[in-house]
Symmetry: C2
Subunit: 164 residues, 2 copies
């Protein structure tokens, strides 16, 4: 059985006790942007209940054009006002460089990505960079509460990164 | 108290029973790409345990350049092979058009986004479009198991979208 089929079986059990539908706009007016890392269960780690918060995730938890798109839709159309950014310890993005990653793809498939891979070497500095990209965007209206954290995959704790 | 501070208090409780660290590569070799919608608790809805699956999320669960970036890193550097795509009923992306959304931003802040908002009018067609974008990318090596679903926010059930 594929993992996909295994997850579909799990979903059948989940649906048996599911209570819905909840309203579309996030009840807590907040969006969380976190790394895609398998060890970060965002709902559990922040005690989020279904319906409360948008959750945006990608490799690194970085802010690129697509996260600006998602956050703009979240704030402008669905009423969120706070943003939480989450990077984490032992992140895969710390283990390579954009140049080497893109060169390996170039050599293997003959096409070099036109996008940045967004690898980074300093966790705290990259959290600050993500906050700065949001603060710098004209498309995000609510920037009073944009706070960045590092999730410790050993302890499950969030540590706030000073952005000033 | 802000919602951010409320979630930080929840995290203190979460960390008290947290068991870590788990290995970096996803144990089930799979990546899930889902909409950021607040009502989709991906870990719970698919019965995912911490450490098992990458989780990528954005407005709509669509595939843009940044999702190709995340999936390329997921497969090439961290060993995932299957991909699950999840759109959902009652999605905010069904409620507007790119033109109107970008025009409203243009009028309010004087700058028109250079990116597509990725709104859509047909859920199943957009799931198929997301699958097609992955299948069409030279940067994603494993495409044998790319399956798309619609999550029903009323029932909690996943319905597979035929992609053929």
């Amino acid at each position: 059985m594929s993992v996909t089929d295994e997850f579909l079986k799990n979903n059948e059990i989940y649906a048996q006790t599911f209570q819905g539908p909840l309203p579309l706009p996030p009840a807590k007016h907040i969006a969380v942007l976190a790394c895609m890392d398998a060890r970060i269960n965002v709902y559990a780690a922040l005690g989020i209940q279904e319906g409360e918060s948008h959750v945006i995730r990608n490799a690194g938890g970085v802010v690129t054009e697509d996260e600006i798109r998602s956050l703009a839709i979240s704030q402008r159309l669905l009423g969120t006002k706070e943003i939480i950014l989450i990077h984490h310890t032992d992140c895969g993005m710390l283990t390579f460089t954009d140049d080497a990653f893109k060169q390996s793809i170039h050599e293997e498939v003959g096409v070099k990505p036109a996008w940045a891979a967004e690898a980074f070497s300093d966790l705290d500095a990259d959290v600050r960079q993500s906050v700065a990209r949001i603060k710098n965007s004209p498309f995000i209206p609510h920037k009073d509460s944009v706070r960045g954290f590092v999730f410790d995959v050993a302890t499950g704790k969030l540590r706030e990164v000073a952005t000033a």
